[in-house]
Structure formats: C-alpha cells, structure tokens
C-alpha cells in the first residue's frame, strides 16, 4: 500500500490555476501544509528552493503559489496569482532563496518553508512529485522534528499518552497506519505523527477531536 498516488483525482485533477501542476498546484499545496501546521497569523515567511524548483520557480509561478498556500488558498483559487501582493499588504515579510545544494529530501522539486511570528515558528520540507501531488518529508513544530514517510494523508496531533490506544483504534476504523512517530512535550503531552494509507472520513476526524486538543490533518 505504498502507492504515492491514491485517488483518480490525483491523476485527473487538480482543477487549478496554471501553469504547472508540480510548480504551481504542488507548491500551493506545500504552502497550505505550512498554513495548517502554523495555524495562526504569520509575520515572516522564508521559502528555500532546491534543484528544479530553484531553477524555474519564477517562470512557473511557484512564488505566488507557495504564498497562496501559506495564506490558506486552494490551487484553484483565482486570487493565487496575486497572493504575494495580498501577503505583503497583510504585512508579511517574504524571502525567497535559491539554494544551489542538492535537495536534502532527495527530490528535484523541493522547498523548505519557515513560517513565524513573535511567538512561534514552524518549518517543513516538502516536495512536489508530479501532477500536483506532494509529499511532506520533514517538519518541525514546537521545536520537535518529524520525518514522515512523505505521502499524504498525515495526521499530527497532541495528546496525553494514556489516550494513545483509543486514538489508534479510532484511526484504524477507516484507514491503516503505515508508520508513526512521537515526541514528548511534557510527560502528559506528546505530539504524535501518523502516516496513513487512505483518507479519514469527517466523522472519524470528529471523534478524534474529542481525544485531543490539537489535531492537524494533512491530505
């Protein structure tokens, strides 16, 4: 079940603003993961591109697409091409860096995003593997580093370890866990990260939210 592409709509889709599924739609989706992981108003965004992303980001609209995602826009949002101006009006300081090193996550279409404000900071490394499908191969949240297998969906949640069995059973009602990682914040508070084989239904997510105060579902 290690398939990178799971849905017919990964192949016939996404519906998106052009010009590139990898460099525009995929970049927007990587940005959207940043939006979800940060979950708040940012003041600073740093985007570091590697390999093909570094060489062609300007021509492919990768800059506006990444920013659009960070603002929470979907790849088919007509505001995407104006995302940089919108973000600047919101007072967000944006920096793009073309890194000449090979991608640390070993994919030609890779980007590292750092989002911050006065009180918190997150970062992630994503790659756009083709046709708008993305993988998240590393992220840091609350100073804890995670290295997921890559493919979405990924579930990140904070919970008391005594609830872990309940959480896993709830997840396994509709999907399977490919791998999982955990990190201790306090003895009563862990961050769990799960790589899943298929989507969690909305009803399952609702049940899971009863067991945790912080749940981020990346799909």
């Amino acid at each position: 079940m290690g398939n990178k592409y799971k849905s017919v709509f990964d192949i016939i889709g996404p519906v998106m603003i052009g010009p590139s599924s990898s460099h525009t739609a995929g970049a927007a989706r990587i940005g959207k993961v940043g939006f979800q992981l940060f979950n708040g108003q940012i003041t600073k965004l740093k985007v570091r591109y590697f390999e093909s992303f570094a060489k062609t980001h300007r021509g492919h609209g990768t800059d506006f697409a990444t920013v659009a995602g960070v603002l929470g826009f979907e790849p088919d949002d007509v505001r995407c091409p104006q995302a940089i101006q919108i973000a600047e009006k919101m007072g967000i300081d944006i920096q793009f860096i073309e890194d000449s090193h090979p991608s640390p996550i070993n994919h030609p279409n890779s980007a590292e995003l750092t989002l911050e404000n006065e009180t918190k900071k997150i970062s992630l490394m994503g790659c756009s593997i083709g046709g708008g499908t993305i993988e998240i191969r590393a992220f840091t949240i609350k100073n804890q580093q995670f290295f997921p297998k890559g493919g979405l969906p990924i579930l990140v949640l904070e919970a008391n370890p005594i609830n872990q069995d309940k959480i896993q059973n709830q997840i396994k009602k509709t999907t399977s866990i490919i791998s999982q990682n955990e990190s201790e914040l306090t003895p009563n508070e862990f961050i769990y990260e799960y790589d899943l084989t298929k989507n969690l239904a909305e009803t399952e997510l609702k049940q899971l939210r009863l067991l945790t105060h912080n749940l981020i579902y990346l799909k």
Binding site: P19, P108, G130, T133, N199
Partner: protein, 293 residues
C-alpha cells in the same frame, strides 16, 4: 489498488466490466465516498476542461502574461474554417482543443491537470474531438476520464509523471497514452485494445525531454500537447485496427522509467538544456528575467 496494466485488463475481463467501472469501484473503496459524489466531482473536472477549450478558442483567445504565447488555437480555428488542412479536420480539431487548453494554462487560467498542467491539453483535445464527431453522451465523457485515470495512476505509481523526474515523456507521453486508452474504450474497444493503444502511445513518445524555454510552461510545452493528442489518436486507431505494440504496456512503463532516470538533469524541467539552451531560448530568458543561464 491495481499494480499493473496486466492486472487491470485481466480483472476487467474476469469481472466483465469496463476499466472505467473498475476505477470508480476503486475510488469508492479508497475515498469512502459514494458513487454519485465521485461522478459529480469528475463532472466538475470535465466542465473545467470544456471551459478552457472554449476560452482558448473563442474570440481572440488568450495570451500568456509574458506575451510569449497565445492566440494559436484561434489561428487553428480560422485555418480549419477554410477546410483545406493536410492532416484532416479530426486531427486539426484535436490540435485546436489541445492548444486552447494549454494556452489557458500558460495564461494562468483555470484548467484541470491531466495528469499534469503542462500536459493538460492532450486528453481534452482527444476526447472532446471524439465527442463532437461521434456525438458522445456526457456519461461516455466521464467514462473516458475514469479510464484514462486508471492507466495514469499505474504510470504515476510505477514510474513518474513529472517532467522534473522523467522528462516530457512522463508528462505528455503519459497523457497521450492515457488518452489513447480512453479513446479506445469509449469507441467500443476491448480492455486489451486499450492496453495496446496505451503501449503504442507511450512507446512512440519515449525519450521526449523537458526543455522549457526560460523555464516557462509555454515553449515548447503548448505545442507538445499537439503531438500528444495526435499521437493518441493514431495509437487508438492502430489498436482498434488490431495492431499490437509487441512490448506489453507494463514493460513500456518500465522503459519510460529507465529512460527518465538516465535523463540528465539539464533535460528535466530545469530550463537549462535543449530548446531552452538555444540562442533564441536564452534570448527569451534574458528578455523576461534579465539574465542568462
């Protein structure tokens, strides 16, 4: 999930189902959604394709933000009206639709990736032309999209569909092969013929590099969708006539992967080699971005 085209074809035969039906079943299992929801979502995607074709073809068409491309679908439409084309109006119509879609894509308009944005004109070019000629129903068009996604998903999972990892053969090559398979199913071909059309379609575009001028999805990407569409039609016709690729579809996918992996980075969507490195390609890059490679 289906691991190979051979498995897809044998399941279709065993269960006496169309490949498109197998794909709808798989999507229901995978997403947990109802059939109606899945079909409705696909209808939305089909409508986006139709609107892109119209936007690119009607009136003065569209122009990209760089001004490098646009208006070619309109030129083709006007040329068709004269009725003196060399390659026949079916080809011309598919070409017009393919270009129209990719011009809308280059102008940052709304398109549906099939399987990618750079190759988004190939499949619509083929199926909307067939729809007009054979008066296909909306249901048949939806069917075509599911058939093509069945083949596309196997390519995507077993090889690649990104120009940055496998060159244009992975994008327009895959799109063309997917379209060929879909064309065969909606015109009454067998699952084996779908696989043969796919195999011939992809075989004939193996080795195609991704060398976009100035890194833009414009030159040569837009017109590469013309070869994708026309190649799909010829592959579908060959399969319907009973021709075989001899090398099975799954092995062609492996060959595509092998070629993609051997392809130098300069020819994989870096805007460095091929047409991008020509004097004209570099001059265009200089004009737009103010720098050389």
């Amino acid at each position: 999930m289906y691991k190979s085209i051979a498995e897809l074809v044998s399941t279709a035969n065993k269960e006496n189902k169309l490949i498109s039906e197998l794909m709808i079943d798989q999507e229901m299992t995978q997403s947990g959604e109802t059939r109606a929801v899945i079909i409705e979502k696909m209808s939305t995607n089909l409508e986006v394709m139709k609107q892109a074709i119209e936007r690119g073809s009607n009136g003065e068409g569209v122009t990209s933000s760089t001004g490098l491309t646009g208006g070619d679908a309109v030129l083709l439409r006007k040329y068709r009206e004269k009725g003196q084309s060399l390659s026949g109006d079916a080809n011309l119509e598919a070409m017009q639709y393919a270009i129209a879609t990719n011009e809308v894509n280059a102008s940052m308009g709304l398109i549906c990736a099939t399987p990618t944005a750079g190759s988004s004109g190939t499949l619509p070019g083929v199926i909307f032309m067939i729809q007009k000629r054979l008066n296909l129903s909306h249901e048949k068009m939806i069917q075509a999209l599911f058939t093509s996604s069945a083949f596309g998903m196997i390519v995507a999972n077993n090889a690649m569909i990104a120009g940055a990892t496998g060159g244009c053969q992975a994008e327009v090559g895959s799109a063309s092969a997917m379209a060929a398979a879909a064309a065969v199913e909606i015109t009454g071909g067998t699952p084996e013929q779908c696989a043969e059309a796919f195999a011939m379609g992809l075989s004939n575009l193996l080795g195609l590099v991704c060398d976009p001028v100035a890194g833009l999805v414009e030159i040569p990407c837009i017109k590469r969708n013309v070869i994708g569409a026309v190649n799909a039609l010829t592959a579908a016709d060959m399969a319907l006539a009973g021709l075989s690729n001899k090398v099975p579809a799954d092995e062609v996918i492996m060959a595509m992967k092998d070629i993609g992996e051997r392809m130098p980075s300069a020819l994989r969507e870096t805007g460095v080699g091929g047409l991008a490195s020509t004097p004209t390609g570099q001059a265009i890059k200089m004009k737009i971005f103010g720098e050389t490679i």
